[in-house]
Every structure is written in structure tokens, then in C-alpha cells.
Symmetry: C2
Subunit: 210 residues, 2 copies
DNA sequence: TCGCTTTCTGACCATATGGTCAGGTTCACG
DNA sequence: CGTGAACCTGACCATATGGTCAGAAAGCGA
């Protein structure tokens, strides 16, 4: 039984500080990687003394773990738009929209996730083997159903999912490269729309859904 | 004028040791990131005393820079198959083949590159702004020509290139995730071929080239 | 107001790390 | 075989970093 949480100043302080620290940590981990990030840097970014960070998060690894879990939730949540879709055009189209939006709004989190996976998923291996595996199997089944129903070409669902992840996350993880090739300026609203449309049109046409 | 290089023992030693160190460094940087990698770890991996590394590479950053340059060369070289192609089917098809092969054979290098770009390209920003920018502009022009010649649909060349990079590099950078979703086992020859074929068929169909 | 809990933090510590260096060894060449 | 250059390395150092802790300050319920 969870206690009813009263909105005392105490609770507010705790919640707010954890939020601030996690946000700062996400940014620093994204910019410097786990090894390159320092508690001091995160503390400065959060505007708090280092010792205060250790009051809320015992170790650097615990803090990092929380950051990764946070983005993983968002990541999984994006699939809501995938479910209950009548076909690939709506389902995959909405999924691409959602993931592109994540790449734009949560670029730091995406980078932390990418970094974590690239380095062999030292802290979220169990998530990969449980939650992600189920998630993937479920969506692959949906895609297979669409194929069986003749709504799209017979593309290996796994590899299609990888393509979706790759193309959408690329705009976050390699955002710096894209920005550089864009004359050093972030993509405008219009350019983000063009990116989204390009990805959607190539993929949806590529799987024979349109 | 470069001196003619004699194949003395001296030259052999230098060349061989640099090769060993660079290989070890690539692996360690890929696994731990720049910040997480230590000269001691690289030294152990190379089977050499740490002080010996500093004899060949003055600083950790210089060693890292060499590793990044190395993979960048390979990366650019993959575009050879892109040029002089009569159309997108051959050109882009060959490019995907080449890049998938790189993802398979040089997964560590690919990860180092990804990591470097993700963290804002601190050491190769100049390359991005010169070599890569020209490279990209050139290829975009080729794609635009194919579009103008009616050989493929009017897809924004930039975003198409991003899709090519993203989908192919994903198999290296997120190889651990893919491996986990594959029951913890690396992709077999057959599976690599399936991956290549999936990517090629979706992209080529997606741009209206087949 | 009182007593207890939670929050906060400057000062401190043990350790790990990048890098140095003096002195040794091996090699090339005349 | 002698000499100089290239190669090698154990021992060492300055610094940075994750983490600790004692004690102060603030909030809360009675």
C-alpha cells in the first residue's frame, strides 16, 4: 500500500531536486558519456553542491541508471501509436511521427540510450532481455499480420523495426552531424517536417503500403 | 619528397606496434567510450607497457584522433561504389552493400565514430565541415541528377543519405541490441544477407527505383 | 515551543589516471 | 666494433574524481 502522498514542502523539495538533478545528468551524460561525465559537472549544471547529489543518488551509477530508465519509458511509450492501428500506413506512420518527435524533444535522452547500448548495455541488459524482447515480438507479430492480410509487402518484421529505430533515432544521435551539414544550424520546423515526410514516404512506399 | 621506406627491422617494429596499439585502442574506445577508456586498459589489450604507448602516441587524445581518422577513411572509401553508377539501383545498392560490410567488419570503428559525433565531434569537427560537407554535397548532386533523369522518385537527397547512413550503421552501433533480440547470438551469414536484402529492398522500392 | 526527521554542505580521503623521465636495451651503419 | 639513434619500461608524480561524514539548517507534527 502506497501512502497517500501529501504535498508538503518536504515532498516538493525532494521531487523538484530529483527532477533538476536528473535533467542535468541527462544532459551531461549525453554530452560526455558515462565515463566522461563527472558528478561535479552534473552538480554545476544542476546548480547544487556535489554532496547534495550524493544525498539523493548514492552513486554515479545509480543516477545514470535512473536516467536510462527514464528514456526507456518514453521509448516504449512511443509504441502506443503503433497499436490498434488498422494497417501499416496508420500504425507505422504514427510510430515514425512519434519517434521523430522524441528525437527532437528528447535528443539528450536518446543519446544516453544509444551510448548505453553501444557499450554493451552494462546497466540495462535485463531490460533488453525482458521488456524489449517482448515488445519487439509483439510488434513483429502485428507487422506479420499486416503482411498476411496483404496490407504490405513481405518484409522481415525485425529488420523493418530496426530500420524504423535507426532512421528516426539518427536525427537525435547524429544530430550534430546533421546540423553541421545544415550549415551549422539546427533543423527548422519546416526541415523537421521534411525529414519526417521523407522517412515516412520512403519507408511506407518501401514496404508497399502506399 | 617521401623517402623510400626500407623494410628494416626498425620500420617493421614501428609500423607493427602502431598497428597493434591502434587496434587495441579502437576496441577499448568502442567498448568504454573516450572517457571510460584508460591508457592502461589499451596497453593491456595491446600487450604492451603503458609507457610504450606514450612513446608512440604522446597523449590519449592523439591516439583517439588517429583511431577516428582511420575509420573516417574507410567510411569515405565506401562511397567509391556509389560513383560512376548508371543509376540508383546499382549505385545505392552497392553503397548499402559496402556500408553493411563495414558495419560487420569494422563494428568497433563504427561505434567510435558514432560516439565521437554524438558527443559533438570534439576532435573531428573540421573534417565534418570540410571533407564530409563536400562529400555529401557531391553525392546529393548525383542523387538529384537521378531524380531529374526520372530514375527515382523525388526524395530529398539529404534525408535519403541520412537514411542510408542510419540504417546501415545501426547494425554496428546497435549490434548489441540486435544480438540480444536475436537470442543473444550474433547474426549468422544468412541473417546478415537477409538484413542487407531487407534494407536494400525497402530503400530502393521506397525511392521508386524498382 | 520542543523534539524528531529530512535536507544540506564544506571539508576531507583513498584511489585511479594521464603523463613524465632517467636509464637501459636493441638496432643500423660506417 | 664503435657510435649514435630508435626503442623500451619501471618507477614516479600531480591531479581529478567518486564518495564519505560530521554537523548545521530547515521543516514538521504535537
Amino acid at each position: 500500500m502506497a501512502e497517500v502522498e501529501r504535498l508538503s514542502k518536504r515532498n516538493t523539495i525532494r521531487r523538484e531536486n530529483e527532477r533538476i538533478i536528473l535533467a542535468a545528468a541527462e544532459k551531461v551524460f549525453a554530452e560526455a558519456g558515462f565515463g566522461g561525465a563527472t558528478m561535479q559537472l552534473i552538480a554545476d549544471m544542476a546548480g547544487l553542491p556535489k554532496a547534495n547529489l550524493h544525498y539523493y543518488f548514492a552513486t554515479k551509477e545509480e543516477l545514470y541508471r535512473k536516467v536510462v530508465q527514464q528514456i526507456f519509458e518514453i521509448w516504449l511509450h512511443a509504441a502506443d501509436s503503433f497499436d490498434n492501428a488498422p494497417g501499416p500506413v496508420e500504425g507505422i506512420g504514427a510510430y515514425i511521427d512519434a519517434k521523430m518527435e522524441i528525437s527532437r524533444r528528447h535528443a539528450d535522452g536518446s543519446k544516453v540510450w544509444a551510448s548505453e547500448v553501444m557499450h554493451g548495455a552494462p546497466v540495462i541488459q535485463d531490460y533488453l532481455e525482458t521488456t524489449l524482447r517482448e515488445w519487439t515480438a509483439g510488434r513483429a507479430a502485428v507487422i506479420q499480420r499486416w503482411i498476411d492480410e496483404g496490407k504490405m509487402a513481405a518484409v522481415d518484421p525485425r529488420h523493418l523495426l530496426y530500420m524504423l529505430w535507426a532512421t528516426t533515432q539518427h536525427y537525435a544521435d547524429f544530430g550534430h552531424q546533421i546540423e553541421t551539414l545544415n550549415g551549422g544550424r539546427p533543423l527548422s520546423d519546416r526541415q523537421w517536417k521534411a525529414a519526417k515526410d521523407s522517412v515516412k514516404s520512403v519507408i511506407l512506399r518501401g514496404i508497399g503500403a502506399i
